[in-house]
């Protein structure tokens, strides 16, 4: 294995993304340009001409590409610490506030039911001496 591997070209995938950020004053396709922005243009737009070799980009392939992009971006986002969906009870399958609240209520009901049972026993015991009296 060699470290000077020409085939390995990591491609930056997220934009710098600041307010009013721009890719610069000249026509640029530098590595800093967001891959999503490029794909949006080179795949969806441009002159659409029927080549001799037909690949229908608008069908299955593009859909797959988009799905893969979403997945890849989610991974990238996680790497930079964007993981809000994991804390959103409506998006994550994890124990949400609502579920925790639910569990607390169940526990409370169980406690109350258990408490009622004990109280009946106590009342029954109290009643006994009265009968004797």
């Amino acid at each position: 294995m060699t470290f000077a591997d020409d085939n390995f070209a990591p491609v930056p995938r997220t934009s710098s993304g600041g307010v009013l950020s721009s890719s610069g004053g000249s026509l640029s396709s530098s590595g800093s340009t967001n891959l999503g922005d490029i794909l949006e243009r080179v795949l969806d737009k441009g002159l659409v001409i029927a080549g001799d070799i037909r690949v229908n980009l608008l069908d299955i392939e593009l859909l797959t590409i988009k799905l893969r992009l979403v997945i890849a971006s989610l991974e990238t986002a996680k790497e930079v610490g964007i993981d809000w969906w994991e804390h959103d009870p409506w998006l994550s399958g994890k124990s949400s506030e609502l579920q925790l609240e639910n569990e607390r209520l169940r526990a409370r009901i169980e406690g109350l039911e258990a408490g009622n049972g004990q109280r009946e026993v106590i009342e029954a015991r109290r009643a006994e001496p009265e009968d004797v009296d």
């Binding site: 307010v19 396709s29 999503g36 490029i38 441009g46 080549g51 690949v55 979403v70 971006s73 639910n102």
Partner: protein, 262 residues
Amino acid sequence: MSTDDVAVWLYAVIGGEVADDRTGELTGVDGERVRHIDGGDLSAIVGTVHLDEFGEEALRRNLENLDWLSVTARAHDAVISAIARSGPVLPVRMATVYLDDERVKELLNTRRQDFLAALDLVTGRDELGVKAYGDLAALAAGGNSAPQPAGEKRSGTAYLMKRKQQLTAHEKAHSAAAAEAERVHATLLRHAVDGKQRPPGEPAVTGKRAWTVLNGTYLVDRNRVPTFRAAVAELQETTIGIELEITGPWPPYSFTGDVVSS
């Protein structure tokens, strides 16, 4: 490898007068030297590519490989952007491949009028992308949702009340964002030759937490680009809960298709 195993990858169509100067020493998607095929007053910017990577079967497979796709998309765009720096260009959609040079000449010949008209439209103009990202919290606060009392008791009812409030705020934020997006688009159109709203990208694709409320792209006269940028900056000042982002200038990807796609 025999000549049967190669094909012609099309990058762009340009006016034919100075094609030699404009192709220079560019390298294309297959690492090949970019060249041009002339047909009358038009030239096609092309490269010779290998079918084992760029043939129909291979393309189907490779287009679904994100690494291959990103490298190839960047290479395709790099050639077009380089050509665009020296004059008007009609970018061709990625993965347009012909069997040989003769077929490309035929194309230039049969579609000559369309190409000339499209070149006319984009001459002296650049494409600029403007995206607006909505900040849910700021947009919702723009409405008058009641503030949460401090030290609120965490009962189930309180939770559901809070959740309902959040959803209402969410709806408000959405309609506020849509209105702002319309205003931004309408304002920018006044500084552009043409403009289009594209479907907003997936929030995940943009890698941003905020969600995209406008994905606009505009064809702008080159000498009005500074004015256009100033307009975007001014809009940024006057909108609440929206963050604007400019990309480009791009080659006119979004403004060549309509003219010739018939």
